[in-house]
Amino acid sequence: MRKDRFFKMVLWVSGILFTLIILSILIYLFKGSYLSIKTFGLKFLVNKIWDPVNEQFGLLPFVVGTLLTSIISLLLALPFSLSLAILLGVFYKKGFLNKFLSYATELLAGIPSVIYGFWGLFFLVPIMRKIEIKLGILPYGVGILTASLILSIMIIPYISLISKEVINMVPQDLIEAGYSLGATNWEVIKKVIIPYSRSGIFAGVLLGFGRAFGETMAVTMVIGNSNFLPKNIFSPSNTMASVIANEFTEAVKDIHLSSLIQIGLWLFLLSIFINFIGEIVINKMKVKGEK
């Protein structure tokens, strides 16, 4: 019996230790960014100048870069992810095509982001450069649009896998009721499946967004690393994550390092917020599906 008590204690200690780890992540990020928070206050969030030499630090260019890349990549990824989810969840629920596409999607999700970036740098950037020459813009090749393209390829597997699961949760009798009324596949999808799984798909999109804004390597390699406010979607820029990757090891001044850590703190808080909403929506969906 004493052994059992010891075992249970070990379990509890591990749980408490895990909680402490998460808490200390938050505390240490806050502590690390304290100097920058104290110096700049809320102005840090709206200042559009990031100039390590003159010790001017503002988050705005990176917020804009992050939002633009994430939103464009989501818009690009959405039709493809939904198609894949509908194909796997409605048209081909079993069989070779389902297995093949599921496996390929899984593989796509498993490729490390540095390899996406590498491929983007040597394959996508030259193509973008040619397109930009044709359009008559400065042919950087790298930039927001290139990064968004890579990001959209990276988040398609996540959105489509979650959407597929949600579509599978739609009660079969509802779908069959639709068919028995003579509705076509398209009508059943549009009138039954999509309305029923709307909130779940939204959660999938949200989690895809969560991945897109925190993604570092692939973006760092193709976005061009410019610390100015982007003029259009072709211009080089930086996201919150990529500026950390670029400057962290080179930051000599305390205030520079502290400002970079503060960006990390915001990324951390934002990721918690997004995951939180996503989980709430998915859990609601689960309850509805079980009824």
Partner: protein, 278 residues
């Protein structure tokens, strides 16, 4: 006439869905094709057994990065596997408000961008020790692995029928032994695939290593000194201006993809065979 329009719409929709799905796969094949094409030619025996040469000189390998990656994965596994499995058991055994919160925290850790994990490992270990180190890289990777192991352990144990536990208790086995000798082995397949999935995720992680493991062009097995890793080599060499280095990066990318592919197959084929049927 109206009927035909409806059917046509349906037909068109299905074709569009199929078309879009196929387009989705094009990048996958492009990536695999280019990596295999450029990667295979870069690989020879020297590639696995030699250290890198300075730019301009031909030859050289990435032994330092291969050893470094294995070293980092070992450190991360030692830190994350026992701890993660224990937390997983805790979550599946105890149900109260605290464990509900804990589950949310596990999700939180899983959603944290990897670059932020790198910052945390930097603050925790690199700053106090005043040096980039294999240990800090291992801690960062361990943190990334932890939620995957916890979740898979918890889910694997959740699936084990209660009757198994009752049978064990009926034989007079105490609680500790029931969990460690009956429940845990029954869930081994799920836990093992969770561990492999965790390794699959961290072996390609670059962002948390940039300012922890940092990179090192020499062989190193001292946890307090910086080490190199396959993804770091890909990043550093790909961003360099030297074509010979690009070639090495392609080779490293090929090996990395191959490793992930093999792990994936092990998860799918071998581990499933261990699965206890109820």
């Amino acid at each position: 006439m109206k009927m035909n329009k409806r059917l046509f719409k349906d037909f068109l929709f299905k074709k569009i869905v199929i078309l879009f799905s196929i387009i989705t796969l094009i990048p996958l094949f492009l990536i695999l094709f280019i990596i295999v094409k450029n990667g295979v030619s870069a690989i020879n025996i020297d590639f696995f057994t030699k250290l890198p040469k300075p730019p301009g000189e031909k030859g050289g390998g990435i032994l330092n990065a291969i050893v470094g990656s294995i070293f980092l994965v070992i450190i991360a596994s030692i830190l994350a596997i026992p701890f993660g499995v224990t937390v997983g058991i805790f979550l599946s055994e105890v149900k109260n408000k605290f464990t509900e919160t804990l589950k949310v925290l596990v999700d939180v850790l899983q959603g944290v961008p990897s670059i932020v994990i790198g910052i945390v490992a930097y603050i925790w270990i690199v700053k106090p020790l005043k040096s980039f180190s294999a240990l800090s890289g291992g801690v960062a990777l361990g943190l990334m692995m932890l939620p995957i192991i916890i979740k898979s352990t918890q889910e694997a144990l959740y699936l084990i029928p209660f009757s198994l536990r009752e049978a064990s208790f009926a034989l007079g086995t105490n609680y500790t032994k029931t969990i460690l000798k009956v429940i845990l082995p029954a869930g081994l397949s799920g836990i093992a695939s969770g561990i492999l999935l965790g390794i699959m995720r961290i072996i390609g992680e670059t962002a948390p290593l940039l300012f922890t493991a940092f990179g090192n062009s020499f062989l190193n097995l001292n946890p307090a000194k910086p080490v190199d890793a396959l993804p770091l080599v890909i990043f550093n060499y790909a961003m360099s201006p030297y074509p010979e280095w690009h070639k090495i990066a392609w080779g490293a990318a090929f090996i990395l993809i191959l490793l992930i592919f093999i792990l994936n197959i092990i998860v799918r084929k071998v581990i499933k065979r261990w699965k206890v049927q109820f």
